[in-house]
Symmetry: C2
């Protein structure tokens, strides 16, 4: 079997047999896309989870004025799951786009469910990932409600230092719910503060 | 067994036997609290899910300036689950408070997990509730990022008409991430618009 980051990620968290691994990979496939290419468009459905083997993607919403709002980033070793399609069989309200040349593994949801029934450890791990996502979303709501733009950016720097140099500023601003101009101003202030120390 | 809304809610969604129901109720208990009483305070942990039998509660965060930010409401027939404690065994970052005289059922998480292992239907239903919560949180983030305050309030009216008369305006404003003054202004405008129609 081809060597995947996903396999390492799984096996370092859940003891799975070779047979179980093969089961999960049975309907999975690898997709390589260029920077800018869409993995999923709003209105489409997909019944697989994306695991990023290499590269970076963003999931975003386009409002009625055509403005984009960033829901999540993902880089290698992370999942992106379009909740609308995968869990509700509904057309996605979001786009998923590669923001670097990207290699993703498409993990078929049926196989995830089948393996969950067979392996309680896998099911537990799977749930844990979902709980982490809920906690992350809750913290983001609280942060959007309560933190000023500068604090939000500082939290982002601390949480995702590896993203800072890879992700365009405009996307980080969108993720934080601020304008690119505000983000530039905050960055200049932080640089000045750092110099004065 | 005492008659609970929770039992009706469950059985209308999952076929459970009397034995399975008893298993779920084994460590559960009923709690009646007055308006204003805390069901959980930040820093505490609890290993049960709250199901609201009667009344209304809010889960909220208090920022470093003492300002409150509302994460979720729940009224009869809804769950409130403090993710930090129940799923991560961490002290809660949030408070849960009754905003009416409230009767809640405390569903022990261990029993939920035990029944999940025994009943695939219950497990599936449980997951479905969690997926719905994720979808709800994602929509809220997108709405906080993209919608103006008036649109956010109109969505709230449509989604939760039953809450409008029960929940204090200040809490609704906090949930929507706007000031109580802005909410009053929006309400006046909507009333005027309705009169002109």
């Amino acid at each position: 079997m081809e060597k995947f980051l996903f396999t390492d990620f799984l096996l370092s968290n859940v003891p799975l047999t070779e047979v179980q691994l093969r089961m999960l990979f049975q309907k999975s496939r690898v997709l390589k896309v260029d920077k800018g290419e869409m993995l999923l468009s709003a209105g489409d459905t997909c019944k697989h989870r994306f695991f990023i083997e290499k590269g970076a993607v963003r999931e975003f919403y386009v409002d009625e004025h055509g403005k984009e709002h960033l829901l999540v980033f993902a880089v290698e070793g992370w999942f992106v799951v379009n909740v609308d399609s995968v869990f509700f069989d509904q057309p996605s309200r979001y786009f998923i786009q590669a923001i670097e040349p990207t290699k993703v593994l498409l993990i078929d949801e049926e196989q995830v469910q089948a393996l969950s029934l067979q392996s309680p450890e896998f099911d537990r791990f799977n749930k844990q990932l979902i709980y982490e996502h809920i906690q992350h979303l809750q913290h983001r709501i609280t942060s959007l409600q309560s933190d000023g733009a500068e604090i939000r950016y500082q939290h982002f720097i601390k949480a995702y230092p590896e993203l800072l140099l890879r992700i365009p500023q405009a996307y980080i601003a969108s993720y934080l719910g601020i304008t690119p101009e505000s983000l530039s101003r905050i960055r200049r202030q932080l640089v000045q503060q750092a110099r004065q120390k």
